[in-house]
Symmetry: C2
Subunit: 601 residues, 2 copies
């Protein structure tokens, strides 16, 4: 149960041509062979060490026992192997102790581990995100103390943003930071939904906590970022006494159960020391600096879960006999494998277009990050940054919605079996339901896209994205087999532009934003249509380059890509146009609906 | 957490005018006061006895301990209270020991209990279904032995259809029945997915088992139905020795965990006696005879779960402060309740249209059952039967799909909290995922609708349904405020007819049926649009009848109904037209897709 390697290589090398990155100074030590070797190791470790723990970690949630959070046996060892293979620091600079892999390869690796065991991957992902913050915004002395132990996995990391009363509305956080005479801060307050917030998997846990310094301005402009270790740390990174962070409760989730999630109380029973990261009151800016990367990560996690369900249910469908074709009325004829049934093929095809389309988009965005990192030209870097800015809410949200739908279909393929915990697909569905909630809810990303991103710099990012799509439309229009799809996507883009203008130009912010979420979904589907047109274009070219008599696995693979593109353009794109037409009407019924009218009370 | 009583009474009395039934001989002893008293009792019992056990039964699955299936404390007592109040036999004839309530009231009662605790309701529902089979098809002596103990809840019942290798394809069952010298049968075989298949909640369990008699024809024409008790029963209904039915394994489900579900082996370790119900080889006909009713029940269960999530998340949204309006940039202004946010209102509105629309449809179908039962005219009974036949796949499937979506939205309203088991909405989502799988999968109902129901008797049932819808369209067209919606539904019906003709007339059964599931969904949405137009029509009339100055709860309730109708017609109906247009194109890509093309292997 994993990511189809043939597809991963298609997306990396044929679609996104990531080998080009090896021509830049930053990645000059790499070539395709080296990337393939990394993928080999990831596939092996994921299958041997991560996958076998997935059901165990789901069935045996973290427990609080004798003052400690206990996880099942084998979790720590699996993470040690992962860290030992260098994956924790895959994307970080060699100078910092990382592997300096391109982001696109690091993300590809992440998808392999996430598909195998998302709960276990969570610990690594959070530590990586925290390390990223440290490298980008930490002081030299902070790096001196924390970087090596974090990159080597002796310390794990977390992000502490939400509070019990403040989830989406971070401007309302109450956790306090009080400056001490020696320049440190005392942290006091409660943080909710802290993944990997407490455990015994590492010697220490380094929390990155947002809090308000006494006297700071209200709202988001008064938020500062702090390093707050579970145990105090000496300058030589030795672990000392408790820093007074109390586990106040474990959250019991529907899915993603193996990643411990908790409420932490800071400084309740004694001094809890925090160390300011960056400048006072600029904490959210530090966080936002790495938002694009983190949100691609969430989207990719959603994709990976959708992909894992796809692979599992496809295999099941190819091996489960049941029923006969509609025209076969002979009950003594042998049953067919269920993949012979059109409805099962449909359930699999939706999973394919969602999972592979989402993977293409996530890795496309990862490639943009790499291009941005190696761009020598400031304008180009800015252009890439704007593309990333506008794609970020989509790459986070579209998979969270539609790869969850894929997981729903995977259950359906297995029928009753799929509904039981003896099979993995129901777990994937439960796990995936989280992704539309954390790292900004679906609705928040709708507001981000329609309220900020499409409007920013007078629509510059939006226009840049449309330009990028039009480049691929022109290529497809020059390909006889794809001219119809090129025309369809042209129409869709036109409709998207019209709807965007109607929504942003209506002069009523509330009215405009009242339809932000369906706008996010619709634009996401158009972006995915683009990803499918790109894939079909490459597949079409590859097929034309092949000898006609070759009908082997490459032939199957490329025709499958073209069929999936056709399916998405046939069954999804016209519906999206209809949805955009609805949005352009600026219906105000939700604004008018009173709370009393829902029930009549 | 329950069904909005104001809405239930609106649907029962104002929309479906169920008091009319009291004018018929069968229900002459009832009036609205009596119905209301029944509802009172149901609401009280559901809240006091069913709801408190819902989380407990989810967290403490049935366990096999010391040879017995153990359920949490209180389950049996809650069921005893339910039975004591007469609800087990609510719909059965007085002569049989029931309450002879109209089906529409029995179903309304079921929705109240299902919303409170679906797992607990399951035991009653299965016993009722088995009792129904006994009454309809059992011999006098079988009724003599089993009816009283089943109706009094001393014996519970089950339906044993599926086998491990035969779920959707019942024609492939292998369980054997061998006639003995005394006219009984020996049953041998395994039955899978048996809900309420083993437990200690009742003195005995009466399984209704389909099996093949030695030498019976292949396929569905060789299936017979048997009563197979867990413990043998004397003619005086006394419980005797074991009938050799072995619990071979408990299934561990994603949701609906409190309803024990298992694999049973019949006759593995000794004679297992079965008693033929009806004629040999006519077992499926007996089953199908009550399919309409059972499937309305499944659809109603899906509705009830969607409804419960709606009510819970609506209450949460009215009481959870978070964030501010888009135009409010002052971080010191008080936070608003989240129901103030348009996106939350949207999530609630979708739940409202799905849950209330589904409830209207399920009770509409229940009313058809009643009308059929009391119709004096054979033609009218036939007409009602055809309407029920064509609506059955829809009333079962539409809520299973869209009220699950409602539960997804309920989680989203609660955010992180909704994802935890400390709140009920994630449980409802898990519970509801079952309904698209059991009692015929979603795909099977698509085939039933497009392959049989719309074609039968040269489209007679389909035409009758369209006629019914057109009656309500004409009423709406005569109502100034609803003329636009009337025109929209007219267009939708036209498109549905065209698409249906395209699909049924294409001369290629495989091609036609390859799009059966999306056809089912699309037609379901049109039927629900009709239900909303009906509701808006009544609400509009009631509003016009009210004094203008009255802006109390009735005003809120009726305007809410009209707003919900508007919402469904604005945001859903145009999309459905687009989906129908796609289907009419008879795309054959799923038939052409090879299994190797999915992965390239």
């Amino acid at each position: 149960m994993t990511i189809n390697r043939r597809d991963l290589e298609f997306i990396l090398y044929e679609l996104l041509q990531c080998e080009e990155l090896c021509e830049t100074g930053r990645f000059v030590d790499y070539d395709r062979n080296a990337f393939d070797a990394v993928l080999d190791t990831a596939y092996t470790l994921a299958a041997d060490r991560f996958a076998p723990l997935a059901a165990t970690m789901d069935a045996n949630e973290p427990e609080f026992r004798d003052g400690k959070v206990v996880l099942p046996e084998g979790v720590r060892e699996a993470l040690e192997d992962y860290i030992g293979a260098g994956f924790l620091g895959a994307g970080f600079d060699l100078a910092d102790g990382g592997m300096q892999l391109p982001g696109i390869i690091s993300f590809a690796v992440s998808s392999i581990f996430a598909a195998a065991n998302i709960s276990l991957s969570g610990y690594a992902g959070l530590t990586r995100a925290a390390t990223n913050l440290l490298i980008t915004h930490g002081s030299d002395s902070q790096k001196q103390t924390f970087l090596e132990p974090m990159l080597s996995g002796r310390y794990f990391g977390t992000m502490c943003l939400s509070e019990p009363h403040a989830g989406s509305s971070l401007s309302d956080i109450r956790t306090k930071a009080t400056k001490t005479a020696d320049g440190d801060y005392l942290i006091e307050g409660s943080k909710m939904w802290i993944s990997a917030g407490d455990h015994e998997l590492s010697e220490n846990i380094i929390h990155f906590v947002i809090a308000r310094i006494d006297g700071a301005p209200s709202g988001t402009r008064g938020i500062s970022l702090f390093i707050v270790p579970k145990y105090r740390v000496g300058p030589d990174s030795s672990v000392g006494e408790s820093n007074n962070i109390a586990l106040a409760g474990l959250n019991h989730k529907m899915g993603s159960r193996g990643t411990v999630n908790c409420l932490l109380n800071f400084g309740e029973s004694g001094d809890c020391r925090g160390y300011l990261v960056g400048e006072e009151n600029h904490g959210l800016a530090c966080m936002f600096h790495m938002m694009n990367e983190m949100r691609i990560g969430v989207g990719l996690a959603a994709v990976s879960l959708g992909y894992a369900g796809y692979i599992y249910s496809l295999d099941y469908a190819r091996n489960r006999p049941q029923g006969r074709h509609p025209q076969d009325k002979d009950p003594n004829s042998p049953q067919v494998m269920i993949i012979e049934h059109a409805d099962i093929r449909r359930l699999l095809m939706w999973q394919k277009v969602y999972a592979e389309g989402g993977l293409a988009l996530a890795l496309y965005c990862a490639r943009l990050l790499d291009d941005q990192a190696v761009a020598s030209d400031e304008d180009e870097r800015r252009r890439l940054g704007l593309l990333l800015d506008i794609l970020t809410p989509i790459v986070k949200s579209w998979p969270s919605e539609f790869c969850l739908e894929a997981n729903k279909h995977a259950i359906q393929v297995l029928g009753g079996y799929g509904y039981t915990r003896e099979y993995p697909v129901e777990r994937l569905y439960r796990d995936n339901r989280l992704n539309a909630i954390h790292e900004g809810t679906h609705g928040i990303h709708g507001l981000d896209l329609l309220g900020r991103k499409v409007r920013m710099l007078e629509g510059t990012a939006f226009k840049l994205l449309i330009e990028e799509i039009r480049i691929d439309i022109r290529k497809a229009a020059a390909t006889p087999d794809l001219q119809g799809h090129a025309a369809d996507l042209t129409d869709a883009i036109q409709k998207l532009v019209e709807t965007t203008l109607a929504l942003t130009g209506c002069g009523n912010l509330n009215l405009s934003l009242s339809n932000a979420t369906p706008y996010l979904d619709a634009m996401g589907n158009i972006v995915i249509a683009w990803m499918w047109l790109k894939q079909a274009q490459v597949a079409n070219r590859k097929l034309r380059e092949k000898p006609q008599e070759d009908t082997g696995s490459d032939f199957n693979f490329y025709t499958g890509k073209i069929s999936a593109c056709h399916f998405f353009f046939t069954y999804k794109l016209p519906v999206v146009l209809s949805e955009l037409t609805i949005l352009a009407r600026l219906d105000d019924s939700l604004l008018k609906m009173t709370e009393e009218a829902y029930l009549g009370t």
